[in-house]
Symmetry: C2
Subunit: 292 residues, 2 copies
Amino acid sequence: VNSPAFIAVDWGTSSRRAYRIVDRVSEATFRDDLGARQAQAIDYPAEIAAIRAALGDLPMLLAGMVGSSIGWRAVPYVATPVRIDHLAAALDWIDPRTAIVPGVSWRDGDRGDVMRGEEVQLLGAVAAGLAPAEGLLSQPGTHCKWVRIQGAAIASFTTAMTGELFALLRNHSLLETQIQSEVTAGPAFLDGVAEGARRDLGASLFGIRARSLLGLGPDDPASYASGLLIGADVGARVAPGETVHILADPALGALYRCAIEALGGQAVIVDSHDAFVAGIVRIRELADDQSH
Amino acid sequence: VNSPAFIAVDWGTSSRRAYRIVDRVSEATFRDDLGARQAQAIDYPAEIAAIRAALGDLPMLLAGMVGSSIGWRAVPYVATPVRIDHLAAALDWIDPRTAIVPGVSWRDGDRGDVMRGEEVQLLGAVAAGLAPAEGLLSQPGTHCKWVRIQGAAIASFTTAMTGELFALLRNHSLLETQIQSEVTAGPAFLDGVAEGARRDLGASLFGIRARSLLGLGPDDPASYASGLLIGADVGARVAPGETVHILADPALGALYRCAIEALGGQAVIVDSHDAFVAGIVRIRELADDQSH
């Protein structure tokens, strides 16, 4: 079956990536730092026209923070459980050729969580068979998503500000000068993972400073600190023997895989761009089916 | 017995407080923000002279970060177990009338921790009967100390960067605008304590943002966030039924007491200035005994 060409934009808080997709394959992309961050005045209609000028005068689907109160316009969340056809049915049409994919909310009593943009990758990975229809998926990053998939739907999820905590520590804390170097998945990282799994972050973090004053290491405090935070995150989420499908860039994915395996789980890395393209193509096709 | 007059200075990272002590009682004090923080060039001999000009030409004992590598000079740590007479015996004499109290280190295999300044309060509280010779003491603050006292000695201790994490979140994080208001020990704080005791900080913190986007509260996110961090700290340290003696200013002491009691412990607040004065007087008297 032929799949008509269109443009997809993954428009996050700090950057955006646009794809021209022809016959389900990404033919051309561009990426820049024009994210939908607070206090950034973006002329969305002009930007949309510029993207069409660059990639072709085609229908366009947008996902991510572009659909939030700090973006172009706030698209209501779709509540879990959410399958990919629910996303297609809830597209917010700006005009007959331009729509925003809604985010997803989860709620259980007073607890709750939200996502915008990740849902396309997640359900795209499931739709393409890159991740199972029943299982635990993880999207590491500034705000790491942990997502329970049941019956090919997003059933529930938890976000941990793991990456943001690391950035705060690296840029503003007592540990700032100690943790500037590149993080690698070596012995210091693994020591940090084991310590982080004790889930006593405030004390473990000060320990980096205290141990260095006493000459007790760690030799590579940046990797150790990253291991602490990722170990605490994984330790709270992954049961021994459990398999996690990780949607991430290769470097961060490798750190999470290493931590998951160190704590007794199993990890499979899924290409997050492939998953996004698979998801947005499926949403486009389902939307066409629904409108015809 | 007469106790000769002297000056005591509690010289920390961000501030210092000086006391003229006559017959074991603080007669006059001053406090300012000339802390021994990194990159602050302090002319210590001139400052010492100025303190004597203000409070009297008396012998002087200094404690705190003034005795660190970022202070006047690095005084070696005394290793646990440390009684107050050990501190007196290890005073670092700058001249026959001026000495720095050493800090304390604890080590157990690869683990370790350090303090500078807190030891005077801790062992002073014990010497004065304000805290027991066997028990758990807490000094909340930027870096919260949790100290096991055995046989009137500091036996072991752990530092958690609880206050620093709160400051990082308040000044630089996603939650910045949500958590500016004053923290009080009300229902939101207690909700945060209960959540914090789950010890899943990265997720609990993001939950503040997510819940507010979903209209699920908390009503007072600043107090809730403080409760999260303090609850995680207390939950990692205090067993149900255990009594903690808290050395702190009244506001922070009340928050810790509230969290400790909510998690099944008991708390006694000790005046930290009284404890410091008691400790430095005892060190001074013991040093006199040792030198005569």
